[in-house]
């Protein structure tokens, strides 16, 4: 059972455009929602994260939008650059002290010049 559903599986965006990746969850116990960025040959790296007490968090060109009632959250990459080409994973944590993350299946983003 996939705890976190992520879409699209792949995304191609022109340089300067906006990349949008969506995730949905069912478990209302989730209270921490990070996004990870993975380049080929590297491990996933924490990009940005949000807790459900806010509806939006912005760090530079990256923004998480969170809709608690719909149980959805999304990553927006503004002014997408070729260097943003990577696989992006959303995740959710049920809030125990043991930090157990459930990952989405990933989105392969390609930004072409």
């Amino acid at each position: 059972q996939q705890q976190v559903k992520q879409s699209p599986q792949s995304l191609i965006v022109q340089k300067g455009g906006i990349s949008i990746i969506n995730c949905a969850y069912e478990n209302t116990a989730f209270d921490y929602f990070p996004w990870y960025q993975q380049f080929p040959g590297k491990g996933p790296a924490l990009l940005i994260a949000i807790r459900p007490d806010v509806s939006e968090k912005k760090e530079g060109r990256f923004t998480i939008s969170f809709n608690k009632s719909a149980k959805q959250f999304s990553l927006h990459i503004m002014d997408s650059q070729p260097g943003d080409s990577a696989t992006y994973f959303c995740a959710a944590d049920p809030g125990s002290t043991l930090g157990r993350l459930y990952f989405g299946r990933g989105t392969q983003l390609t930004v072409w010049p």
Binding site: P34, Y36, G41, G43, L46, F89, L98, L101, G106
Partner: protein, 111 residues
């Protein structure tokens, strides 16, 4: 100053062999994990240890055995390797509900 380091980076071995992957973190985190990433990039948790105690043991064949000698180290030993074990294995660590820090992965190829 690598935060989570795992060795080796690449491992090519024949079916039936036994191999180990080592992981060390210098972040002072109290929880460590092993994840398997398949060819479709899906990240699947295998094990998690908190202060040397096994916390999560997902449905993993008992050919896989984790060992945590101290809270900074989590090793993975695999017996009787099979072709289906070929994947990238990631070690990670975290403190409580903060985000994970991943190692750079070990690409295991079983031939």
């Amino acid at each position: 100053d690598t935060a989570v380091s795992q060795t080796p980076k690449y491992l090519v071995t024949q079916m039936g062999n036994d191999k180990s992957i080592k992981c060390e973190q210098n972040l002072g985190h109290d929880t460590m994990y092993w994840y398997k990433q398949d060819s479709k990039k899906f990240l699947k948790i295998m094990f998690s240890y908190n202060n040397k105690e096994l916390i999560i043991n997902e449905t993993v064949p008992n050919r896989f055995s984790p060992k945590s000698p101290d809270k900074a180290h989590l090793n993975l030993h695999i017996n009787s390797l099979e072709l289906g074990d070929s994947a990238v294995y990631f070690c990670a660590s975290s403190r409580g509900t903060d985000g994970y820090t991943f190692g750079s992965g070990t690409r295991l190829t079983v031939v």
